[in-house]
């Protein structure tokens, strides 16, 4: 039986899933990237190798997330896709007929509008991370409660306080103010959830037509308080898919399967890459005042890829001579 790997290398976490021919998730894995994407991918593969049953042969591998190009070189990916497309693919496959995808991760948040199974519109946060998971993380840490309990405590609120949601700096000072006034913890947490949802809908979701079914995914979907706040504000039911936290990786795996169906073979290098030594180095190109910091990946003394140059002199010199997309 064939299995397909999806690898989502994000800034905070690296997620790996294994799906079967019918898009069923057989295994999923969450690793903190901790600024070492290569290590994270290798560790993940090592782990999956140990758990995979003998009948499954890897038929394809896809990568996504901000580290997708790096990961694709290490594992030999069949498809390399941006996280917006990957999330949309996973959502429309796991929840047929979905029309709106709300996605909030650690550092970014996005909304994807699908019509007839196709992405019709999307938006992603640009200059500000106020409406994202890291904001909640910080506030939970400030209030000294574990992030896992955040949502449940918020649900106990009788009268959520109003907290400015536009900017996390304002929100924090507002929150401190409310605390000093003597509001109880559940009310403040529920207020924070409302603020985050308001911020998200005003910034990311502005002008978008939010139609049912609405699904909510990404790490923050674990927070039941946010789900309730979305339902209250939008007045519709919000579905949280089973694998809400690894949807990007699921999408990457599905895309890999489809890519392999077209090409017939996979370029997966095998689990052996977990032991291979990859060396990432960078140098400053001094040919023009842009002073690009070119990154290169070496394996076994051979340069496999270079990127991050503005003019394309280094990245075009080696590597794939094909259209990226």
């Amino acid at each position: 039986m064939f299995g397909y790997l999806g690898i989502d290398v994000g800034s905070v976490s690296t997620n790996i899933v294994l799906i079967d021919e019918d898009e069923k998730v057989c295994d999923s894995l969450y690793i903190r990237t901790q600024g070492q994407p290569i290590k994270a991918v290798q560790k993940g593969l090592e782990y999956i190798r140990g758990r995979i049953s003998d009948e499954i042969v890897i038929g394809g591998v896809g990568t996504t997330g901000s580290g997708r190009h790096l990961a694709s070189i290490i594992v030999g990916a069949d498809s390399v896709k941006n996280e917006i497309t990957s999330h949309a693919v996973a959502a429309s496959n796991l929840v047929p007929g979905v029309q709106t995808v709300l996605e909030i991760g650690g550092q970014d948040s996005k909304i994807i509008i699908l019509r007839n199974g196709v992405v019709a519109d999307f938006a992603m946060n640009t200059v500000c991370a106020a409406g994202t998971g890291s904001f909640l993380d910080q506030q939970a840490a400030r209030l000294n409660i574990p992030i896992e309990e955040f949502g449940d405590i918020a649900l106990k609120a009788g009268n959520p306080v109003r907290i400015a949601g536009r900017c996390s700096v304002f929100a924090e000072s507002d929150m401190i103010h409310k605390q000093q006034m003597g509001h109880n913890l559940p009310d403040i947490l529920a207020g924070l959830c409302d603020a985050l949802v308001r911020n998200y809908l005003n910034n990311i979701g502005k002008g978008k037509e939010i139609l049912e079914p609405v699904i909510f995914q990404g790490g923050v979907a674990a927070n039941i308080g946010i789900k309730k706040a979305f339902e209250k504000t939008l007045g519709v039911e919000v579905i949280i898919p089973e694998h809400y936290d690894v949807m990007g990786a699921v999408g990457a795996a599905i895309l890999a399967r489809d890519a392999v169906r077209k090409t017939g073979t996979t370029s997966f290098k095998g689990f052996g890459v977990a032991e291979e030594m990859f060396e990432a180095t960078s140098f400053e190109c001094k040919d023009c005042p842009n002073l690009c910091e070119v990154i290169q990946i070496k394996a076994g003394g051979q340069i496999m890829a270079r990127w991050n140059d503005k003019c394309g002199k280094w990245s075009n010199a080696i590597g794939e001579k094909k259209k990226i997309s």
């Binding site: 949309a88 429309s92 047929p96 019709a120 640009t126 200059v127 890519a259 023009c288």
Partner: protein, 377 residues
């Protein structure tokens, strides 16, 4: 007197031609780079938009190379750009850099206003010489645009990414070096031959995207993070709503020459925008309509962060998009923009368009209801 000017895409080629053929010594500032941006942001008000910061960087770098006079464009209307020449002069003065600033305001009544301003730099050259020099500069602008249009066609179809860009780079140099019209013609011809010789995939179904928005960001590749090249690599054919020669005709020649310009775009802006909103806000809307009418697959609006006219347009574009069924995407640039994030969004937008295009090409009946469709790569 050593004259310099701010960069805006390939405009340096025309300005250099204009001034050198009048015997003025020219200092072309180094092409905008990270250094330009760093210098510019260091010496500009934080809340100003990116064009002012790049201008400042250009001037400082040109000063380092000995320039003492600046030829700067002015402007009218609610866009802040009209005030930038004055602000920049003050900043340079505060920095203790001694530079003269000659501001070319768009002529209000008669073309002679422009000529008088140009004469401030050229001294006592005869009017005939000046007019001849302007014409030569104009032909250079046309030459650049001609080559660029071919580039836009080749780029998404070439088998080996980067080959068209390599020729384009050379072609710009040929055009820039051409001393007279005869050589200029030869340069364009050579560029055309070499570009056409690049092996391309004629069968390839390309997505077509129109680029609209703020003129400076549209024309200056360093500022727009080379959006055209990035899209080209993703297999997208791009067309800008305005090219250099059209801008020159619109703004400096009062639209006297009979070429495509912003008039058509302005005409199409109502009922969405019925009057001038500053900068190119009205044209942005009109051009979006135009691209939709011409059956483009999508439109990308580019703007510098905090650009008022484009913010007006940005809030109206969703209505146009809904009415005419053309997907749109807005790219806002500022000094921080890392290109990885931009590329992710561009990729996703192109995916959306490709998928939509494929879907409209396949008759509906082939898709069973309820069957899941997967985004293709």
């Amino acid at each position: 007197m050593k004259v310099t000017f701010p960069h805006m895409g390939n405009m340096y080629i025309c300005l250099k031609a204009l001034l050198t053929s009048l015997g003025v010594e020219v200092v072309v500032p180094p092409m905008p780079s990270q250094k330009t941006l760093t210098l510019g942001t260091q010496h500009s008000p934080e809340f100003a938009c990116l064009p002012l910061k790049i201008n400042m960087g250009n001037f400082i770098e040109a000063y380092e190379q000995g320039a003492d006079t600046i030829l700067m464009a002015g402007g009218i209307g609610p866009c802040r750009f009209g005030y930038y020449a004055q602000v920049e002069r003050e900043i340079l003065e505060d920095m203790g850099l001694k530079m003269n600033m000659v501001v070319l305001e768009p002529p209000q009544k008669h073309l002679s206003e422009l000529l008088i301003n140009i004469r401030k730099v050229t001294g006592n050259r005869s009017w005939v010489d000046i007019v001849r020099a302007i014409r030569f500069a104009w032909y250079k602008a046309r030459a650049v645009d001609e080559v660029e249009e071919i580039l836009h066609r080749i780029r998404p179809r070439e088998f080996e990414p980067g080959s068209a860009d390599a020729v384009y780079k050379k072609a710009l140099k040929w055009i820039d070096d051409a001393p007279d019209r005869k050589e200029l013609k030869k340069a364009v011809e050579a560029a055309r031959l070499e570009l056409d010789a690049i092996p391309i995939d004629r069968e390839r179904e390309v997505v077509r995207i129109g680029i609209v928005g703020e003129i400076y960001v549209m024309l200056e590749p360093f500022v727009n993070l080379e959006v055209e090249r990035q899209l080209g690599r993703l297999g997208v054919e791009v067309e800008r709503s305005i090219y250099l020669s059209e801008w020159i005709n619109d703004h400096l020649f009062m639209g006297l020459l009979n070429i495509k310009g912003s008039k058509e775009a302005r005409k199409l802006a109502p009922p969405y925008v019925n009057h001038f909103v500053g900068g190119h806000g009205q044209e942005t809307i009109g051009s979006t309509v135009l691209f939709a009418n011409r059956k483009y697959d999508g439109v990308i609006q580019v703007q510098p962060f905090t650009c008022m006219p484009e913010i007006v347009a940005e809030s109206i574009i969703p209505t146009v998009s809904r009415d005419l069924g053309i997907p749109t995407f807005c790219l806002i640039v500022d000094e921080h923009s890392g290109d990885a994030g931009v590329l992710t969004r561009l990729e996703a937008f192109v995916d959306l368009l490709e998928r939509k295009k494929e879907k409209s090409a396949v008759p509906e009946s082939t898709e069973k209801k309820g069957e899941q469709v997967c985004l293709d790569i």
